[in-house]
Structure formats: C-alpha cells, structure tokens
C-alpha cells in the first residue's frame, strides 16, 4: 500500500494522504553498565563453572538444578492457562527449558557483569525459555490471525450522543491509520496488539525474532499515533486511567 490513499478524516472531511511513514522511531539505548563488584556467592559460581574436571561438572549440575527450579516455577504459574496439557508434558517442557537455559548461560558466562546476583541472572534465562515454550505450545496448531476481527466488536458508546460520535470517529481514524501502515507493520500490529498473538509465536511463524518484531510493532504504533494526531485526535487525553 505505497500509493496515495483516499480516506475519511476523523472529523468528517475526505482527505488524500500519503502512506503513514515512521519517523523518529528509535528505541532508547541504555548505557553500558559498569562492571560491578561481585558478591561472594556469585564469584564462587563463576570460579566453579570456569574450573575443570569434577569441580566444573558438579557446578554445572548445581546450575542445572537451579534452572530447573526456575523453569518449574514458570510452568506452575502458567498451568491454569494450559488445562489441556498433562503433568508429564509440563515436566518435559520444564526440563527442556532448563536444558536450553543451561546452554545459554554457559555460552554467555563472560557477559555476566555482576549487575545482579548470579542466581537472579540465570533465573531469567530459565523463565524465558519456559515461557516461550509454553506460549508456543498453547498456540500449537492454531491459526495466527493478522487481520482485524470485526471492528464492530469493540465496545463503543459513552454517556451521551457526542461521546458516541467521537468514539465512532476515532475508531474510523484508527482503521484508516492502520490501513496506511506498511503491510508488514499492519500484520504485526494487528496480530500482537489487537488479536493477542504472543510475540514468540508470531516470530516463529514469520521466521523472525522477538526483538525485530517488537521494533516493527514500535514503529507501527508511532506511525499510527502520529496519524491520529494529524487527524486532530489528541492521544495524550485518552488513557489517563487505562494504563
């Protein structure tokens, strides 16, 4: 959808506009953290994992137990949302997550800067692996919708006719703004933000990554917000109590 488009503005007039272009859409880039002084426990973990022979093997075994505990924690938190999975399947997922997290942690050992305790640092790898596997399992065999369901499904209306009209105009402008995004931005925005597809599931289907898809989502959101503001809708006043 790269050609000029004809649409209806949020205030009732017909406009001819160019496709929405993303601009000034860079993420914040954090400063590189300084190397922190390691606490005794973290230093012992690094020493043992960098050792050789039986000491190394024992440390890897302890690390795997730690990761398995974190993966099981995540599985237990999500279990109510996965009623179709049996206990042994969930155990298998936790074990796979711990195994994959172990590989990640050992490969990234030199990137641990001591900004947190070593155990907190490794937990996040196990939680990530377990969460991603569970999201993918929950969507296994399901179609990933990248088009809006019916817009009429939204709850509109307010205390009076003026509010109702405003919301209908706003909804129309949102639809116009989404239509003006690039096809990739539109598909990602609709799937993730409107249809609730988990980002890891979409990344797998599109052979992409979470980071790349979130950048696309971010750019699409900024472009949509800019379009709405150009149409006279002030986004700063909508969601004061909704975030």
């Amino acid at each position: 959808m790269e050609a000029a488009l004809i649409g209806t503005s949020g205030r009732g007039g017909t406009v001819v506009s160019e496709p929405v272009k993303a601009h000034a859409n860079l993420f914040l880039v954090p400063e590189q953290p300084a190397v922190s002084v390691l606490d005794d426990e973290s230093r012992a973990w690094l020493r043992d994992l960098r050792s050789a022979g039986a000491e190394h093997d024992a440390a890897v075994g302890r690390l795997h137990l730690l990761l398995l505990r974190a993966a099981r924690f995540e599985v237990a938190r999500r279990r109510p949302t996965l009623p179709h999975l049996r206990g042994n399947e969930l155990d298998d997922i936790a074990l796979e997550a711990a195994n994959d997290a172990l590989v990640s942690v050992l490969a990234r050992l030199d990137s641990f800067r001591g900004a947190s305790r070593f155990t907190t640092w490794v937990y996040k790898f196990a939680l990530l692996e377990a969460a991603v596997k569970l999201r993918k399992r929950a969507w296994q065999g399901r179609e990933v919708p990248i088009e809006p369901e019916s817009w009429s499904l939204f709850e509109t209306g307010g205390p009076g006719p003026a509010q109702e009209v405003f919301q209908q105009e706003l909804l129309g402008a949102v639809q116009d703004g989404i239509a003006r995004l690039t096809p990739h931005q539109r598909g990602v925005l609709v799937a993730l933000a409107l249809n609730g597809v988990p980002i890891d599931v979409l990344a797998e289907r599109l052979e992409s990554t979470r980071g790349a898809l979130y950048k696309t989502l971010h750019d699409g959101r900024r472009a949509l917000r800019t379009y709405l503001e150009e149409q006279g809708f002030d986004a700063s006043t909508w969601f004061e109590d909704e975030r």
Binding site: S116, Y123, L127, T156, L170, A193, L194, H218
Partner: protein, 77 residues
C-alpha cells in the same frame, strides 16, 4: 461475551507514550531491574525506558512478573 473496551484496545494498539527500550535491552537489564525494584530503589532513574517497555510488551511483562515473584519469594524465606 463481553466486547473489548475501545480505550483498552487503543491502549494496546498505541503502546506506551514514553520512550522505551527494546526487548533485547530489556532482557539484558531485567535481573538488575528486579533486584533494585525489590529493594525499593529508583528504577525509573536507573533504567530509563524499561518500565515503558514492560507496559508495551506483554511477553517481557510476563517474564518480569515471574522473575520478580521468584526472586521476591526467595527473599521472603
């Protein structure tokens, strides 16, 4: 079935208003963020854009909640 609320749906569509970091930087900083958060520190100042990212990214938000619950539970023991 209750229909989705327009404002909430628009909130998800438009994402956070504030500048945010990306998913990879969020993952890199999440452990230190959670420890400072649990200690009652100033996470806004120490990790600019991370809270905004958690608002906009459901997956990172879920993983933040899990890490906070896991580490916080250990500290409570």
């Amino acid at each position: 079935m209750q229909r989705p609320d327009l404002k909430q749906s628009l909130g998800r569509l438009l994402g956070p208003r504030e500048p945010e970091i990306g998913c990879d930087d969020c993952f890199d900083q999440l452990d230190a963020y959670v420890e400072l958060e649990l200690a009652g520190g100033d996470t806004e100042h120490a990790f600019p854009g991370l809270r905004a990212h958690l608002e906009g990214c459901p997956a990172c938000r879920e993983e933040h909640e899990s890490l906070r619950a896991l580490v916080g539970g250990e500290q409570a023991l």
